[in-house]
């Protein structure tokens, strides 16, 4: 296997153009496990760890731009993420273990495109965009358009996920992430919920809800979001929204949990929003 360590984004893109079958490696925490398990070693790996331009944070125009190869430890420790995007911070906090967070990257978690990816529900709820670079230019698209199936992305040949761009929510928002797993650290989620509620004068002005691990991709529930909009944040309203969620999610039964359990938990997690906001 040939491992390349480009130092610039351009060099990485040129390597991808020259070797269309090359795999991109960021943290390697998923890729290397998969390569070994499937005995499917790519001929060439383009390792991004030396591309300084792909890591780090930029804040401007009400957005936080996070380089795709930024480590999850850096995401967790970033003050702007902690203060402005508690939803993302909350997910980073329960992401794998500190050792994996030192290696795994935000862009890598997006590109694994797993239905159970911890960072995807928050990015869906926050309305994040992905920035894709190729030798012919840059384009952006919403993260929910980028993920087209389990493990599948709308990535053109020669294109690289270069950054994740997250609008900073305006006004007072309740942001909440919870992951239910078989154990606390290093568990693949059984169900996760990312919720972002904008509450104005006691009334929910906007609700964005995204669930992980209850379908082939991250699922939002527009019916539940619409039901909450315009109402006050009460346990009753959340229970009603939960009923919609049960109908919308399409979980599978697997070694981690049954479909019925996942359906129940997906609805129940909404009730936490009453708990954290003190609503009844």
């Amino acid at each position: 296997m040939n491992v390349l360590f480009p130092a610039t984004v351009e060099a990485a893109l040129e390597a991808l153009c020259a070797e269309p079958d090359a795999h991109v490696m960021a943290g390697g925490t998923d890729l290397l496990v998969r390569c070994r398990a499937e005995q499917n070693r790519p001929e060439t790996l383009v390792c991004l760890e030396k591309v300084a331009d792909l890591a780090g944070f930029e804040i401007s125009d009400g957005r936080i731009r996070i380089g795709a190869a930024t480590s999850m430890t850096a995401v967790l420790e970033n003050a702007a993420v902690r203060e402005r995007l508690p939803l993302l911070h909350g997910a980073a906090k329960v992401f794998a273990s500190p050792l994996v967070r030192n290696m795994a990257t935000l862009g890598g978690n997006v590109c694994t495109a797993s239905p159970a990816a911890d960072m995807l529900p928050p990015l869906y709820a926050l309305g994040a965009e992905v920035e894709l670079r190729s030798l012919s230019g840059v384009r952006t698209m919403p993260v929910n358009d980028f993920i087209v199936g389990p493990g599948q992305m709308a990535l053109a040949p020669g294109e690289l996920l270069s950054a994740i761009i997250i609008p900073i929510p305006e006004g007072r928002t309740i942001q909440y992430f919870e992951k239910v797993g078989r154990r606390k650290a290093l568990a693949i989620s059984v169900v996760s919920l990312a919720a972002l509620l904008r509450v104005e004068d006691g009334v929910i002005a906007e609700a964005r809800l995204a669930w992980g691990s209850v379908g082939p991709m991250v699922i939002r529930c527009p019916e539940a979001e619409a039901l909450l909009k315009g109402r006050s944040l009460t346990l009753g309203a959340l229970r009603e929204a939960g009923e919609k969620v049960r109908d919308t999610v399409s979980p599978i039964s697997d070694v981690r949990a049954s479909a019925e359990y996942r359906r129940q938990v997906a609805a129940n997690l909404l009730l936490r929003l009453a708990q954290i906001s003190g609503a009844h």
Binding site: M1, G28, R36, L45, P98, L99, N102, L186
Partner: protein
């Protein structure tokens, strides 16, 4: 490909296959057996080493990624005599079969550099990627707590 790195303070240059894993070349080509392979998938932490001072899982790194870096294993941690974390693990019974111990020692040593006065909860979180099937963790947490005192009271290895 040829890689050069510093392993436990000693410069090494060797030829490796591009697909070789760091844990394998550390153990087999370099003869440093402190990093253990448990799960091989990043879940057990037994293979943890410090790479440029950051705890990383050597089973999920390619040898090629070590080029130009400094690697410290639990062996290197003890190059001037046992590190206070290693002493505390031995003194307080935080070691049983010992398979997880090298990974725990390097994870804990680096953690205590950043958090010299940790709570038990912080110690548990810091070690959450290092599994142990023997001790039930209680004595390991005791040991890391004790090592923090040893380091803080100046009876560490710098004395």
């Amino acid at each position: 490909m040829i890689i050069s790195f510093v392993l436990d303070g000693e410069a090494r240059t060797l030829e490796v296959d591009g697909g070789a894993r760091a844990v394998d070349i550390l153990r087999e080509s370099c003869g440093v057996t402190a990093p253990k392979e448990g799960c091989g998938t990043g879940e057990c932490g037994a293979c943890t080493v410090l790479v440029d001072g950051v705890p990383r899982l050597s089973c999920l790194m390619l040898a090629a990624q070590l080029d130009g870096r400094a690697v410290i294993t639990a062996q290197g941690l003890a190059s001037d005599g046992p590190h206070p974390v290693q002493e505390a693990l031995a003194d307080l019974g935080g070691v049983q079969c010992g398979y997880c111990t090298p990974g725990i020692a390097v994870t804990a040593a680096e953690f205590l550099e950043r958090h010299p006065d940790p709570t038990r909860e912080e110690i548990r979180e810091a070690l959450s990627g290092n599994l142990c099937r023997c001790t039930g963790y209680h004595k390991i947490v005791d040991a890391v707590e004790d090592a923090a005192k040893r380091l803080g009271s100046g009876c560490g290895r710098d004395e």
